[in-house]
């Protein structure tokens, strides 16, 4: 069983370049940047997860141990990604943490209904962001026992 932050993979799904940059910076400050992979749209995220896009060497992108998902994205938004991930076998095991600027009740209801594991609101300040990253590291990467996922070489489910 894989555990320990040294081996964890995190997929960040967000279309806002600034937000992504800030998030990467925060992860870097917490020495977690090596674990972070970014998908800049809902489509990109789904393609990666379902194995439709491949690595340069042809291998499948390894499945992340945690997905940080923004909601507000064009075309395929966070809800859609969440819905698809949580309906697919194996993929549905991956914990999805919503990371959004919305605190609306409707959004919260819908995401939780669809099976989101956690819901975080993006803070305005960098301090806040650092704090969130630390908490993510402590909880999702350290304390939380990750779900069993197939190895890098394994075939992804359809």
């Amino acid at each position: 069983m894989k555990n320990g932050s040294s081996l964890a993979r995190i997929l960040l799904v967000d279309d806002n370049a600034n937000d992504v940059e800030l998030t990467i910076d925060a992860f870097k400050e917490e020495q977690l940047s090596n674990h972070l992979e970014v998908a800049r749209s809902g489509q990109e995220a789904l393609d990666r997860l379902f194995g439709r896009t491949r690595q340069p060497d042809g291998g499948r992108f390894p499945l992340p141990d945690l997905i940080l998902l923004d909601i507000k994205m064009p075309v395929i938004d966070g809800f859609e990604v969440l819905r698809q991930v949580k309906s697919a076998p194996v993929l549905r095991r991956i914990p999805v943490v919503i990371l959004t600027s919305s605190r609306e009740e409707g959004d919260r209801a819908m995401t939780y209904d669809t099976g989101a594991n956690s819901y975080l609101v993006k803070p305005i300040s960098l301090e806040g962001m650092l704090e969130i990253v630390r908490k993510i590291k402590d909880y999702w990467l350290t304390i939380n026992v990750r779900p069993p996922l197939p190895d890098d070489d394994g075939e992804a489910p359809v």
Binding site: N18, K122, L126
Partner: protein
């Protein structure tokens, strides 16, 4: 007087005797007590001395034993002795041994002095033979010494012998011995130390510490069947160890001691004297110590005390006697004085007596026991004798021969009682007699029974008595005659009265009948006099009987101006031969009221003086007439009512219309009543309604039930159908149940109802449409603010985030100003973020429908404590909820919001040096409650009290107190949405209270 035994004397003697007895008893007790005390003292003394001496003796014994032991046990001594024994001839050894022994008898002072109080030191063989003695004369040891030596050698323990008396010399000694052992512990010799008891022991025993004439201690031991006295006795000169006392004399103290008695003992001693003794054994020895003192000594001591007591008693008795004597003599003196006084009084009384007697009119005689007259007063001259003659006479001589005989008898009575009073006849000197009354008494004169008598001439009295008697007889006779004549008169009168009474009774009955009659009645005569008028006449009219004494008076009062007419009518009554009903008359009462009286009169014969009488009776029919008139009136009214009523009315009797009013005719479009009368009700109504109508008619008529109004349809004469509302009720009419039916045309009403219905439908549709519009608008607003917040926040995040990176990573590349700018960018972005949040909040408030339900405040308070817990704890302040918290009716979210914002403000706008205390309360007054949050913070100046509720309005800079200025506007908006308003009371520098009124939740039996 000399025979009499003086009572005081007896008492006095008695007192002395009693005193003597008491004193004697007290004295005796004192004596006994003294004896006891002294005896006890002595006993204690004996005991103390006995114990002391025993102890000393024991000490002495122990010392001796120790001496012997030490003397014998020394190794050196043993060696020397052993050496000598081995070679008895060796002079040097012998000298050594002697020197050793000598130590014990040596008289030199110095360290050895202790040892040298022995008469002799002897060395003996273990079997008792003498080996060596300092006494040159001794050749062999006494048997006692021998046996002691043997015993010691055998037991190898030091031991003390007993007192031994040498017969030849009379000398007494006492030995103590100890074995001398050789190196192996075998006894080779015995050291005997002989001491003279008279040096120490006897003096010890024989001395007595206190001055006493007879006390002594003595030491004894059992010797066979007797007790041997071991020391020299005080009261006998015999030397020690010579006196014995047989054991049979158990009363002797020494014997008792030997026999085992210990402690206090009363008995005799060796010389037979009574003693008090203390008996004590000497431990570890066969000896017993007796300490004794003669009882006589004790008594002698007591005797002194006793004598003193006796003297005291005698003195006391003497004193008592003296006191009594004094008392008696004092009494005597006073008695004599009294006697003297009484003598003087008596003398004066006697003188008075004499004077009285001299002047008295009554004759006074004093006769001696033989009835001889010894004294008479001046009045005695009435007898005709001279004084001298009188004094020669006997009392009997004064009596007539006839009465003389009874003298003694008369006087006999005087002897016992307080005197006697009797009448008799006395005789004068000249033989004439006169009746007398004698009062006589026996008195004691110089010890003899004299008689004193007062004699009164009662001649005149007698005469008077006779006259009186005669007069009385005469008057009695006259009285007799009068009484009999009066009796005759009385009987006549009684007959008369009886008849009169009978007559009156019947008159009375008649009168009462009239007076008490329930009807007004009047009995009047043709001259106008009213003989009788009934009570009810007066009660109803209010006139008193005195006012109605004539018919004229009555008519004046009752009819006023019409009087003459009425009087004429009354006059006509007297002509009547029969009863007549007169009809109604209006009578005026005293109070001015007019009453209707129906009169009837009848003739009632003539009076004695020929006047004709008439009796008139009236019935007060005022109410009756009035009722009848009213009834008629109401009938008319009702008829008119019905006929003219605006609603159609008809009466259904026996399924026939028997009455219709004008409105009914109009309703049915008929011209005349006849068009409707007689028809069946079913003909009037539409066939569709017939079934229901029939049922209603049945209920009304058969059961008499009231039916509810119903909507029916009538058919007019022209065939048109009209909507009506029918109200029907049953009533009794001519013996059957008829039905009273009211119809009202409801065509208009129905039309109005339809219109209203349609209107409300339209309204509902409009409302639905409107709500849909509002919802749409709301949704639009929501998505607007949603996007606003989201889209505004993203760039804000970028600004803040990158600026922070700058501040952190490139800090060193910036100068101070640069750092300051960057920090400002970051903090401003944060602030904007908060503003956006709050604006969103503000807009969100009220988009939801405002609910109205009871909101228990307990859970809200708990939540507040959680939310603000850290801030409260950090400031050291408190958030307090005042119990009981009433429950408001409102929107829960809004109330939550209001409270949270108010508490936030209360904690934020605090005085820096004062610990914040926030108090939350919900106080109920009837149907509303006041929700309030009070703090002890900085307060608000009056001029700003409205401004603070405006959006973005702030009174302080961001550095002083953090905030956006939206909190209170949210609070106000939320309050307004619930139909309330927030007000603030504040004292600048002391604190503020924000409050709003909400409806209070009413207690309901079932939870909402």
């Amino acid at each position: 007087m000399k025979n009499r035994v003086s009572r005081p004397g007896i008492i006095g003697a008695g007192v002395i005797v009693v005193a003597a007895v008491l004193v004697g008893v007290a004295g005796y007790n004192a004596y006994r007590q003294a004896f006891g005390t002294i005896r006890a003292q002595h006993s204690a003394e004996l005991q103390v001395i006995g114990k002391l001496k025993v102890a000393q003796i024991v000490d002495w014994r122990n010392e001796r034993l120790s001496d012997a032991h030490m003397g014998a046990a020394g190794a050196f001594t043993g060696a020397v002795v052993a050496g000598w024994l081995a070679d008895p001839t060796n002079a040097a050894f012998r000298t050594d041994v002697v020197a050793r022994l000598d130590l014990f008898t040596h008289q030199d002072p110095g360290p050895a002095a202790q040892l040298s109080q022995y008469d002799d030191a002897i060395l003996a063989a273990p079997d008792g033979h003498l080996l060596l003695s300092l006494d040159p004369v001794a050749t062999e040891l006494d048997p006692e010494a021998q046996s002691l030596a043997a015993q010691v050698a055998a037991s190898q323990e030091p031991a003390m012998g007993d007192f031994v008396r040498v017969e030849s010399s009379g000398h007494v000694y006492i030995d103590v011995a100890a074995p001398i052992l050789d190196a192996s512990g075998r006894p080779i010799a015995v050291l005997i130390l002989r001491s003279d008891p008279s040096l120490y022991l006897y003096p010890l025993i024989q001395s007595w510490p206190t001055p006493s004439e007879s006390a002594e201690t003595l030491l004894v031991r059992r010797d066979g069947a007797s007790v041997l006295f071991l020391n020299v006795l005080r009261h006998r000169d015999d030397p020690a160890l010579t006196i014995r006392e047989p054991l049979s004399s158990t009363g002797v103290s020494a014997v008792a001691a030997v026999l085992g008695r210990v402690g206090e003992f009363e008995g005799t001693d060796y010389r037979g004297a009574a003693v008090l003794a203390d008996l004590r054994p000497v431990p570890d020895s066969p000896w017993f110590l007796v300490s004794k003192v003669d009882t006589a000594e004790i008594l002698a001591e007591v005797g002194d005390r006793g004598r003193a007591i006796l003297l005291l008693c005698l003195l006391a008795v003497v004193l008592a006697g003296g006191a009594v004597a004094i008392v008696l003599s004092v009494r005597q003196i006073s008695l004599q004085q009294r006697l003297l006084r009484s003598e003087r009084d008596r003398a004066s009384v006697a003188r008075l007596h004499e004077r009285v007697l001299a002047l008295a009119r009554d004759i006074f005689l004093l006769t001696d026991p033989s009835n001889r007259i010894v004294e008479a007063n001046a009045a005695a001259a009435a007898y005709g004798y001279s004084r001298e003659e009188l004094l020669q006479l006997n009392a009997a001589d004064l009596r007539t021969p006839e009465t003389r005989a009874t003298l003694e008898r008369d006087w006999q009575a005087a002897a016992g009682a307080d005197g006697v009073l009797f009448e008799t006849v006395h005789m004068r000197k000249d033989g004439s007699t006169f009746p007398v009354e004698v009062s006589s008494r026996v008195i004691d004169v110089d010890g003899m029974q004299h008689r004193e008598s007062f004699v009164r001439d009662i001649t005149e009295r007698r005469a008077a008595e006779a006259q009186l008697r005669a007069a009385a007889e005469e008057s009695a006779r006259l009285l007799e005659a009068e009484v009999s004549s009066r009796r005759a008169l009385l009987s006549i009168l009684e007959d008369q009265r009886a008849t009169e009474a009978a007559l009156r009774e019947s008159e009375e009955r008649f009168r009462r009948a009239m007076v008490d009659s329930p009807f007004p009645m009047m009995l009047h005569a043709e001259d106008g006099q009213v003989l009788q008028v009934s009570r009810s006449w007066c009660e109803i009219t209010g006139y008193a009987p005195e006012e109605l004494t004539t018919t004229a008076a009555w008519t004046e009062l009752a009819y006023g101006e019409r009087r003459d007419v009425l009087l004429a009518e009354i006059d006509r009554l007297y002509e009547l031969g029969h009863r007549v009903a007169e009809g109604d008359y209006q009578v005026r009462t005293r109070s001015g009221e007019t009453r209707t009286w129906e009169f009837s009169s009848a003739p009632l014969g003539r009076l004695a003086d020929g006047r004709r009488l008439v009796i008139s009776m009236a019935t007060d029919v005022t109410e009756h007439r009035r009722a009848t008139a009213e009834l008629r009136e109401s009938e008319t009214r009702y008829r008119d009512l019905v006929v003219l009523a605006p609603v159609a009315i008809f009466v259904n009797r026996d399924d026939r219309v028997v009455l219709v009013n004008d409105a009914c005719l109009r309703l049915f479009g008929a011209q005349r009543e006849e068009e409707l009368l007689g028809k069946s009700p079913f003909e009037l109504f539409h066939p569709d309604d017939h079934a229901r109508i029939g049922e209603r008619i049945h209920r009304l008529r058969e059961i008499g039930d009231v039916v509810e109004p119903a909507e029916e349809h009538i058919v007019r004469v022209d065939g048109r159908v009209v909507d009506v509302e029918v109200t029907a009720s049953p009533f009794e009419d001519l013996g059957t149940r008829a039905i009273h039916v009211v119809l009202s045309d409801i065509t208009e009403r129905k039309r109005a109802e339809a219109a209203v219905r349609q209107l409300s439908e339209e309204l509902e549709q409009r409302v639905v449409a409107r709500t849909a519009e509002l919802d749409a608008a709301n949704k639009e607003l929501e998505s607007f603010s949603y996007s606003v917040s989201h889209d505004l926040r993203a760039p804000l995040r970028a600004i803040s985030g990158f600026a922070s990176i700058l501040a952190r990573r490139y800090r060193d590349d910036l100068d101070e100003k640069g750092r300051h700018y960057v920090d400002t960018i970051v903090s401003s972005s944060d602030h904007m973020g908060v503003l956006i949040e709050e604006l969103l909040d503000y807009s969100r408030i009220g988009r939801r429908t405002v609910r109205a339900e009871p909101v228990p405040l307990g859970p809200l308070v708990t939540q507040l404590r959680v939310t603000f817990g850290d801030r409260i704890a950090a400031s050291g302040g408190t958030l307090e909820a005042v119990e009981p918290l009433a429950t408001p009716v409102g929107d829960r979210t809004l109330i939550e919001r209001i409270l949270a914002n108010l508490v936030d403000n209360a904690l934020t706008y605090r005085r820096p040096d004062v610990v914040p205390h926030v108090t939350l309360s919900a106080t109920r007054h009837g149907r509303t409650l006041t929700l309030a949050v009070a703090d002890n913070g900085i307060g608000i100046a009056p001029e700003y009290r409205e401004r603070i509720f405006e959006v973005f309005a702030r009174l302080h800079a961001e550095e002083e107190y953090p905030g956006t200025g939206i909190g209170l506007s949210i609070v106000r908006k939320a309050a307004r949405l619930m139909g309330s308003n927030v007000i603030v009371e504040s004292t600048e520098g002391a604190g503020s209270t924000f409050s709003l009124d909400l409806p209070a939740a009413q207690k309901r039996s079932t939870p909402s």
